[in-house]
Amino acid sequence: MTDLFQYVPGNSPLHRMNPVTKIALTLSVCVAAFLTDNLFVLLALILFDLMIGVAAGAFRKALAIFRGLFKVSLFLFVLQALFVRRGNRLLWIVTDEGLSTAAGVVLRLLAVCLPLALVLTVTRVSDIAGALVQVLHVPYAYAFTLTTAIRFIPQFMEEMSGIMEAQTARGVEFDTKNIFKKLGLILPLCVPLLISSIRRTGATATAAEVRGFNLRTRASGYKKYGFGLVDLAAVLISAALITGAALIP
């Protein structure tokens, strides 16, 4: 779980693509997923996501993301199926429209989450920040906030599992199947962790300041984020995805 959002070094076309293009592509998948109500279009989008995963050399990771989303999806599916009352009744209180709405919600979730997670696998956070500043002229302070937040995810997880191991050694049973019991054990740990994270964020701000944070301008970046053929291809694909989703009934 810890490494789900971690950058994996590589040299695929997706790695080389301009970070701004990658974000645009991700967003167009999201837009397309929300424009359409057609389950087949949603399935096609998921298939497209998986192909992207293959192109990025991260197919196994894509599957892992699927697995991670499975429980949430199941929960959402059951909830929707039970609560949508329109349409013809099929079984007990479940209707055909309920089923298709539920399927739509779940497929949409998968179609949207996959590229969001994949984009972080093929892009260094610093490149996202760098490109936002250089290409889109986003103020550096905002970009820095983004990078710091994303950088804290693995650190937070690392500390969390460290504390849980220590507690397990003292006999606390974190591997309980009871979800409420588990939450009851984990939540109290989050508070001190959050406090230490916030304190550390303060220290990181100082660390940034003593290495010239305030002097940074749009021209500071050493890496240049240019656009190439892959970017053109991605833009065309993005346009095709959105048009397709909007036009196919």
Binding site: R124, I150, A207, R211, G212
Partner: protein
Amino acid sequence: MIEVQSLTFRYEVSERDALRDVNLTVPDGAFLGIIGPAGAGKTTLLHCMSGIIPHAFPGDFYGAVRVGGLDTADNRLTDLSRLVGTVFQDVDSQIISSVVEDEILYGLENFGVPHEEIGDRLTAALEQVGISSLRERTIASLSGGQRQKVAIASLVALRPQILVLDEPTGELDPFSSRQIFTLLRTLNREHGMTVVVVEQKIMLLSEFADRLAVLNDGEIVKEGPVRGVLSDIPLLERIGVNCPRAALFSSLLAEKTGTEVPVCVSAEEAVEAARRVMG
């Protein structure tokens, strides 16, 4: 040059002074080691030298600290940082980026090192610290020791006039620790960089530093050439600093044989001294 004059500092939330009436001068080109028990105020003193105190920590600050002639209280932290580079004790709060290469680029970019020069500086810093192979790795995938080296490299790349390091080898094995100190010596001797380092490994520190300052309970209780400081074994024992074995040995040797034995800072010197005394 760093001049600390009658410095007293108390953290805002604290009941007692973290530093009390500290006076210390670090001339240009010096290699100063700072030792002392936990909680003595070593980190606080380094923060005062780099300007992080008073700028980033609220508290009561009396006295004056000047680095390169600039009063730390009157100058922006950013301007002070051009002169003084700091390696933090907590590596994880020092590292800003998620990939090694980016971490070293960060300061180079911000301080406006010309882009033609940045590539070479980056490669050189990685090489000097011995982490060229880690260049593309993510920070999250590194061990504590490797992270420590990245933090050191990111400051070495900046080539500040003064470099202060807070327990820079805390997570390193003996081989890497020696490697880092050898690098610090090269920077100090060949590039004239002033080096101030807080270190627990006193034996190693004594071999490389020119002078030592001993902090205890917020006060400098001794300062001077390495051998002079290490010869005061009762003081070191009283404040709970573990004295290097070689120094202990030479003083015991002097005591037991009633002869004059110079203070030893390495095992080789101790052997040599024993050989001389035993005839």
